[in-house]
Amino acid sequence: MYRGREGQWAFYLHRISGIAIILFLALHVTEISSSMFGPKWFNALLKFEENPIFGLGLVAVAALVLYHALNGLRIILMDFTSWGVRLQRQLWYAVWVVYVVLGFPMLFIMLRHVFVGGE
């Protein structure tokens, strides 16, 4: 493994999270379009997806979306400002600070929904 620094890991994680989001989107569209076959199939599928495995998968996708969104803002700053590239490392740490601040309440709400249920 090439011993790159923050930028390399930011890129790898961005690419992996991007692919995961696309795969989720494909799955999601497939799920919704199953309603074409009538309520019987659609409801059965939704029932099947009540399994906590899917709930945890959703938490994982949400975690990846949050990283992809925040690092995307970092990339916009690097691409469109004269100072973004110079501060790329600090920006990456800022991404993780915001990630934790936004991610923890999200995690709490989602996990409660998965295991306790309700609104």
């Binding site: 090439y2 790159g4 930028g7 690097m78 691409d79 590239v85 110079r86 790329q88």
Partner: protein, 233 residues
């Protein structure tokens, strides 16, 4: 001090694939990795192949992957590695010819693609083409490049893409695009704006970290991106 030098060896006439070989060497902390390679070649195994020329960080011949990072063997001191196990591999993304020697032709092909020479059809003035110190400073960083390929072969996109020009060629393009005497931007933009051009850069910064001349490579690539996008030229 005793060090272990692990080299990824490959002899195309004998080996199916590269393999590691270890050498126990007596080294001084101020020895360069290049000195260790010489010690192996001169005293232990004369078949070891690697490229070097000036040995002083100017010719750009001896870029290699040392302890997982691209560096020049002649500018890397044993003491700076902070370990007594030193691994040396050929730079990645170019075909290995033997041991640490790679075929640099794809690298130079990308270099030629950006037309790295002055393009200006205007009749030459009676004396030199004048330039202010401020105009000169704009492209100063790119002039430091020694074409060692440490940046290009540290790039994750270059390893897998196959068409990407690579950081070094873009740095060379930057050196001329931002030169006030040069009028060739429109001739260079087709190669730079194509699918193998600047848009393949995903800002992983390995190039910037690897450059032995401390050129802010990613910064220059981003400037070329903006020049193309906003039609600055």
């Amino acid at each position: 001090m005793q060090v272990t030098l692990k080299i990824l060896r490959y002899n195309p006439e004998k080996d199916a694939r590269p393999h590691w070989e270890s050498y126990r060497l007596e080294a001084e902390p101020m020895d360069r990795v290049l000195d260790l390679l010489h010690q192996v070649k001169w005293e232990k195994d004369g078949t070891l192949a690697f490229r070097k020329s000036c040995g002083h960080g100017i010719c750009g011949s001896d870029a290699m992957m040392i302890n997982g990072v691209n560096r020049l063997a002649c500018k890397t001191l044993v003491k700076d590695l902070g370990t007594d196990v030193i691994t040396v591999e050929p730079i990645r993304g170019l075909p290995v010819e033997k041991d640490l020697v790679v075929d640099m032709e794809p690298f130079f092909e990308a270099y030629r693609a950006v037309k790295p020479w002055l393009i200006n059809d205007e009749p030459p003035p009676e004396r030199e083409r004048l330039q202010s110190p401020e105009e000169r400073a704009v492209f100063d960083e790119g002039t430091k490049c020694i074409l060692c390929a440490a940046c290009t072969t540290s790039c994750p996109v270059f390893w897998v893409n196959g068409t990407y020009l690579g950081p070094s060629a873009i740095v060379q393009a930057h050196r001329f695009i931002f030169d006030s005497r040069d009028k060739g931007a429109h001739e260079r933009f087709p190669a730079l704006g194509s699918t193998g051009g600047v848009w393949r850069c995903r800002t992983a910064y390995n190039c910037t970290e690897a450059c032995p001349r401390e050129i802010p490579v990613t910064q220059l690539i981003e400037e070329v991106k903006r020049a193309i996008m906003f039609g600055q030229m």
